[in-house]
């Protein structure tokens, strides 16, 4: 029998993607995990000392900068949830008040088109103590105002949170708007006929209906926080001291700053584990939703 | 034109068996309609023939050639889909040409065939339009044209008229029939609409539960349904079925209807004659065969009127029984005189009733 090309050509067309996945993703992850067990420094050294194969990880958790990084991960994660809340409020308001919808949407979403490096540079400039917003507030007569957040270790993260909210709230607004649009229009009419107040409508009906949108937003935000790097480099470059280090920054610093690829790999593996911890609920939620949609379709 | 043969076809999706040991021959030049309710396996059977779905077991022959493992395009058939499936980005001409240029035909031949099909279907003026600029009926014509240009012997139709409104449907029905009469292709046509089946088919295969219940000409299917399923599936309103018992009345077999005093004289019936007393049977009476007020028929039924439905051209009386209402279709002029609750007497001629074995459901 002749070869049935109709059966083979789609499989052949998938070979490049399979190769990329196998080599660049699956293989590379394995490779990095392997390197994290070695004592490689500038160049990979593939010998593992099985007596202390977790050496890099032990070092990592004794490292003060790593502890700071993990702490900042939580701080930025919690702080950025404001972006989700703001996004929802903006979406709800735009949805209710149709006037100027296009205009506001355009404004709220433009930060997404701006690179985080540019965003960080602008925010750093605005945080400039002698020439930036602080100075502006002082000149207005509010002399006690302090906006020099980036210079102090205990407030620098707040500066980064503020810039993150500025950058991200439009994104969550777009997701929330999509969620709001998918709510059946008759619910609003029914609520109006029932005379339900706007607050109760949102708190008792709309927000519960949008719980999956909220969950998706929260998970995407967490994944974004784990990856946060550009904004740190642009705003504080990790400083003052190591007060604004984040896992991604720590990992890349271990690679290029300390030239220790085994140590960097170990930090990357922990990043992967954190991502997995966030990602698995996403998979479960997605699978559940798909199943539910199919059940409804039946 | 080729013959199509299905030999011992089976199809399973995972553990679910959709078709099993199915045999069917479609003769050269025949217009075969696969008719059945949704989920009966008729579309699966068509897709197996088209090669869009792989068979689990069995063989499909077209013109004596085993095509079971061939690609759809190599089977020598063309198909018209329910949603027309026109390529939205191509013009009508592009739609007609796509299959031909895949066959590496030369350009003049392609142009000749496109012109021929366009003329035949009266779509010459639409050739440069996109599908989105066409009406439903025009799309349907293009879809048929796309099949015609391929110049193959076997045509498959998958519920092609179900997306059209009632008036267009009647028009296209005639059109397809006309094309078949002119071109004499072998056609396999899937539908759940019995009117389409009755008007167009040379033969109908009635399917249910993945099994072919009966194959026959429209007249055979209507007049001599092979079993209770076919009897009740064909005809609207569907056939009235009443369970009964055969008894001997002075040597003549009669059927006593359960719940009625009525006796039906079976001696005039072609096959009812030989029934042994005591046999449980089902009597099927078509609504349109009942005669109001006729007192001298072998089957007489007298029931109170539940309600009457007039549809303009005719009227249906629904008579009260212990179970499903008994339907009788009559001339609307005759329906006016009867009021709800009044008894109506309906008579049936001997050759008009159908008898089925109560146990197997098969025709006696």
């Amino acid at each position: 029998m002749a070869i049935r090309w109709s059966r083979w050509s789609p499989r052949i067309a998938l070979v490049p993607a399979l190769l990329v996945t196998a080599v660049a993703f699956v293989g590379s992850i394995g490779w990095t995990i392997y390197i994290s067990l070695t004592t490689s420094r500038r160049f990979p050294d593939y010998e593992i000392n099985w007596d202390e194969w977790l050496r890099q990880y032990e070092r990592l958790f004794k490292d003060g900068a790593w502890a700071t990084s993990l702490k900042n991960l939580v701080v930025l994660g919690l702080g950025s949830t404001l972006a989700i809340i703001l996004g929802f409020i903006l979406a709800a308001m735009i949805e209710k008040e149709k006037r100027g919808e296009g205009f506001f949407r355009t404004i709220f979403l433009y930060p997404l088109a701006v690179s985080l490096i540019v965003a960080g540079i602008v925010w750093r400039w605005m945080f400039n103590p002698s020439l930036g917003i602080e100075n502006f507030l002082h000149e207005l007569g509010w002399t006690s105002a302090s906006f020099n957040w980036l210079a102090a270790p205990d407030t620098a993260m707040y500066g980064i949170i503020l810039a993150s909210i500025w950058h991200g709230s439009g994104f969550y607004m777009a997701l929330m708007l999509a969620g709001l649009h998918s709510i059946n229009g008759e619910i609003w009419s029914a609520a109006r006929l029932d005379g339900v107040s706007v607050w109760r409508l949102y708190i008792e009906i709309i927000i519960p209906m949008m719980r999956f949108t909220f969950l998706t937003c929260a998970i995407l935000l967490s994944l974004g926080v784990v990856k946060a790097y550009d904004i740190i480099v642009a705003m504080t470059n990790g400083g003052p001291g190591s007060s604004t280090w984040m896992p991604a920054y720590f990992t890349l610093n271990a690679y290029s700053g300390r030239s220790n690829i085994a140590y960097a790999s170990a930090a990357a593996v922990i990043m992967l584990l954190i991502t997995a911890a966030i990602f698995i609920p996403l998979v479960m939620v997605t699978a559940w939703r798909v199943r539910r949609r199919e059940a409804i379709a039946k | 034109m080729p013959r199509v043969e299905f030999q011992n076809i089976a199809k399973q999706y995972g553990r679910v068996t959709v078709l099993d040991e199915l045999n069917l021959d479609v003769d050269d030049g025949e217009f075969l309609v696969l008719l059945g309710p949704s989920g009966c396996g008729k579309t699966t059977l068509l897709n197996l023939l088209a090669g869009l779905v792989e068979t689990t077991a069995g063989k499909i022959l077209i013109d004596g050639r085993d095509v079971t493992d061939l690609d759809p395009k190599d089977r020598g058939l063309a198909m018209v889909f329910q949603s027309y499936a026109l390529y939205p980005t191509k013009t009508v001409r592009g739609n007609l040409q796509f299959g031909l240029s895949s066959q590496k035909l030369d350009r003049t031949e392609i142009a000749r065939r496109v012109d021929w099909a366009a003329k035949l279907l009266q779509i010459e003026t639409l050739l440069d339009r996109k599908p989105s600029q066409l009406s439903g009926g025009q799309r349907q014509r293009v879809a048929i044209g796309r099949a015609l240009v391929k110049n193959v012997g076997v045509f498959l139709f998958d519920e092609p008229l179900s997306n059209l409104d009632a008036k267009l449907r009647t028009e296209m029905r005639l059109e397809i029939k006309r094309l078949h009469d002119e071109l004499k292709h072998t056609i396999v046509y899937v539908t759940h609409d019995q009117i389409e089946a009755m008007t167009m088919a040379t033969r109908i295969a009635v399917m249910d539960g993945g099994v072919i219940q009966q194959v026959g000409t429209p007249d055979e299917i209507y007049e001599q349904p092979a079993n209770l399923f076919v009897a009740q599936f064909i005809g609207s309103p569907s056939m009235n079925v009443l369970s009964a018992r055969v008894e001997s009345d002075g040597g003549k077999p009669v059927a006593i209807l359960d719940g009625f005093e009525t006796r039906i004289d079976l001696s005039g019936h072609a096959t009812g004659d030989a029934l042994a007393p005591g046999t449980a049977i089902v009597v099927g009476l078509r609504p349109e065969h009942g005669e109001i007020g006729a007192a001298d028929r072998p089957a007489q039924i007298e029931l109170p009127l539940l309600y009457a439905e007039k549809t303009g051209g005719d009227a249906t009386l629904f008579l009260k029984t212990s179970g499903r209402p008994f339907a009788v279709r009559i001339d609307p002029a005759a329906a006016g005189g009867v009021r709800a609750g009044e008894a109506v007497q309906v008579g049936y001629a001997a050759e008009k009733f159908n008898l089925f074995d109560a146990r197997t459901g098969r025709r006696i």
Partner: protein
Amino acid sequence: MTDILPLEPVRRTFRDYPKKPRKIRGSSIAILVFLTMCALFIAIPLYVIIVTSIKEMSQIIQGEIFSLPTKVTFEPWWKAWNEVCSGVQCEGVKVGFINSLMILFPSLVLSIGLSMVTGYALALWNIRWAGTFLFVLFTAAFVPFQIIMIPLIIMTGIIKVYGTIWGVAIVHAVLAMPLLTLIFRNYYKDIPNEIMSAALMDSGSFWRIFFEIILPMSGNILIVVLILQITSIWNDFIIGLYFGGIGTKPMTVILANSVITSRGEISYNVDMAAALLTAIPPLVIYFVLGKFFVQGITAGAIKG
């Protein structure tokens, strides 16, 4: 097939009624005020970057960050484009601009070509392990870059593209592949089954169906993905930083080097001009093709 009597249905014209004026309620005003304040907050950085970039340093050092320039000057723009230093190289951000463009085209072609065909094969052809592969891709789309970075550096080194434009472009394509494949696959999944069946009966050829039927139907998603990819490649920093060599670093890296690690006297107006120049290409795309941009980022986010 025409009617015997083509009767026109009865029609009538309707009169125009004057528009009722829409009432503005208190709650509407409150909402609009709040939205305007938020819009101001979001718009301020853009305003600041623009005005600072056209001010003279003499005005900037007076500390009026929000005031309009007393004298508009485009010298900072010229300096940023031509003179700004990245490390020891003082040729302005234009070097980065050219590099970014040169990275952009091959990586667009590679990433979109690869993921389009993959998405098409997975969505419309019967492949038994498609579900498993999609799940792996879904996972890969979320993997942090750091976990695969070091092996990628080693491998691009082995195939001798590390530090070149091609190296950066290939890494972009690899990283974008899972997400873009999922986007294309979800788009193609909605193409009616029967169109694919018709194409199978007409041609049956994987590539012919792709180029003649599917590709012409992909216009919309192609624009969405194109915009998504252009902005994310243009705005990328990490890949450019770690895979770009001397003279092949993209604009963001040049910008970061010149602004963040520069020593000596700081010209804020030049910094802002350099930042603005870097931000202009994606901003232009955003303001011109905003609808597709939003579709892109939400398509990237909501999957499944």
